[in-house]
Symmetry: C2
Subunit: 175 residues, 2 copies
Amino acid sequence: MATTRDRILNAFEALLVGQGSRSATLDAVAEEAGVSKGGLLYHFPSRDDLVVGMLDRLRDMGAKDAEKMRSAPQGAVAYYLETSKHTGSAFDRAMIAAARISQESDARASSALDDLREAWFEVLDEQLDDDELARTVQLLCDALYFNETMGLAEEASMPAVRAILARLGALDVQP
Amino acid sequence: MATTRDRILNAFEALLVGQGSRSATLDAVAEEAGVSKGGLLYHFPSRDDLVVGMLDRLRDMGAKDAEKMRSAPQGAVAYYLETSKHTGSAFDRAMIAAARISQESDARASSALDDLREAWFEVLDEQLDDDELARTVQLLCDALYFNETMGLAEEASMPAVRAILARLGALDVQP
DNA sequence: GTCTATAGATGGATAGAC
DNA sequence: GTCTATCCATCTATAGAC
């Protein structure tokens, strides 16, 4: 069983992702986490502390993911493409939650996401050794990711992207 | 001078884009529009009516934009790529504002954005006559657009996308 | 059409019991 | 560490004057 602290952050993220920041109130988070508002505020003295706690966890997960991508047997491009599919993993949820917060002009959230993208780009560029192509792969995966995040209907996109990346030879790389 | 109604919607959109839905309160919208809260509520009896009014205006602008794209002298792909740059136009603002609302599980906003994308895709597919390529162009432009929307630092992306689209021959099309 | 005043509900946060 | 009770600010919405 996760710690209360983690269950609270999970609840905060889930509400941010599912309903947006407006609905992620202390009351709602407490209820989702199965704790009282007082209990929540013991762990996170203010709503802003929830944001900080969430971004800290995201940075941890991000560092681990970049390492996993670097040594993925199928190559970084294929790994990145696969993990652009929205799996509902804890990491996914934390990224989207951070995106929600960053849209409220929160510099800490924007910078956490920027650093994540930078780390991924470095791995792509290492393996592709083609700056333009690395950026394009990242953009395509961003788009797949964000479209899904926004609930847009784009089932045909993934096969199209795979086909185009094959035309460009981007799927041939090895770690 | 714009009508009061339009100034109110402009203010609502500006707050959604700049600060997020949480900050787009009736008080804040009224102040930004230079009208009292009572005055605002005369035109839009509830906050939800602001959303509906905003989406109506977006649909109008969207229909006009798809037509402009279809007959653009530089071709639909180049037009679409150029207008993916965030210009701060009224249309831009309305799209991003709708994206903010759609993230709160608002089916009306999601559907308005979906319809817009569908209309653009049709034009791209007409001119490219390559389904995969049309989807890819759209995804790349989405990514450029959304990255900018989210305040991510990606100045190098546009030239990279242009270069890759040139490799694919996607920039050669004519209306 | 626009304003002020105010009601009623909800949000963030504190105090203190257990 | 977790809970209940409560305070105060803010938010949506209404009423009614001009």
